[in-house]
Point group: C2
Amino acid sequence: MMELTRKGEYAIRGIVYLAGKPLDKVCLLSDIAAAVDVPPTFLAKIFQQFSKIGLVRSFRGTGGGFMLGRAPENITLLEVVEAVEGPIIPNRCVCAPQDCDRSSFCNVHPIWKQVQEQVCGVLTGVTLKDLSDGKIKPQPTDLAK
Amino acid sequence: MMELTRKGEYAIRGIVYLAGKPLDKVCLLSDIAAAVDVPPTFLAKIFQQFSKIGLVRSFRGTGGGFMLGRAPENITLLEVVEAVEGPIIPNRCVCAPQDCDRSSFCNVHPIWKQVQEQVCGVLTGVTLKDLSDGKIKPQPTDLAK
DNA sequence: CCTAAAAGGATACATAATGTCTTTTTAGGG
DNA sequence: CCCTAAAAAGACATTATGTATCCTTTTAGG
């Protein structure tokens, strides 16, 4: 359960690679794909999605390629993951409570809500800069224990 | 991402129903399925799995049926979820770090580990008794904020 | 032995994941 | 103005997973 897909894994690899480059450097898709070991055609699809929502910027034609859409310290891992996997929804009822109007067993609802919040919390706390720097910030929840 | 399957949803419904019955009461599969609105044949498969690992006990033949395998306060939601969905693994690399020996992008590894711990933490904090009682205990993480 | 009930196995269908291929558009450079 | 490089877009193929259903077998009570 809760498993990131290949697509998600590839997306993170690719965009973290971009985050490690200068903001104005245009990178060839084929170079990125080779560097992070992802099928180029697949990565193309992912970056097309990212381009539409501004996570990356793309340039066509000769000398074209991709660069990060914004400064890496302003892009959270949550944003990347949700862009490629859709929203973090442990159970349908979290977003559609009307499906949950059964009596007893929908006591579970608040639990899924908690799970969702925890996960989003962790992923929000990490930026692409953190990841490309190799400096992962400890989460508050770690300090707690 | 992270979505519980129907099977998982059905499993929880079914076993929470059992948790609400007296420990020695044998319930007909068909009754359970009808009560929690789950396809009986599907629930049968789920409870067969549960029976093998002792989460529920089954009785065959006339007067047969299912009951909870242990006291509901000793069964956590995590146990139920993992029994039916498999282990909580946000990314393969969490359980197989050898796949993660790439340089930069596996900085993400500790993040997935954190996610895993957070989710398991929440699900461990809830028992079937809590769920069948309708009394969901607030998590430590809630108090923190 | 007859019937009720779960166990086990095989099967069917739909959807999502994981790619690939081809064609089209865009842009730079001679 | 063409030629070439590169991404965009769309169609397609393959597999795996999810979501069941059905049928036969085993077990147990009466």
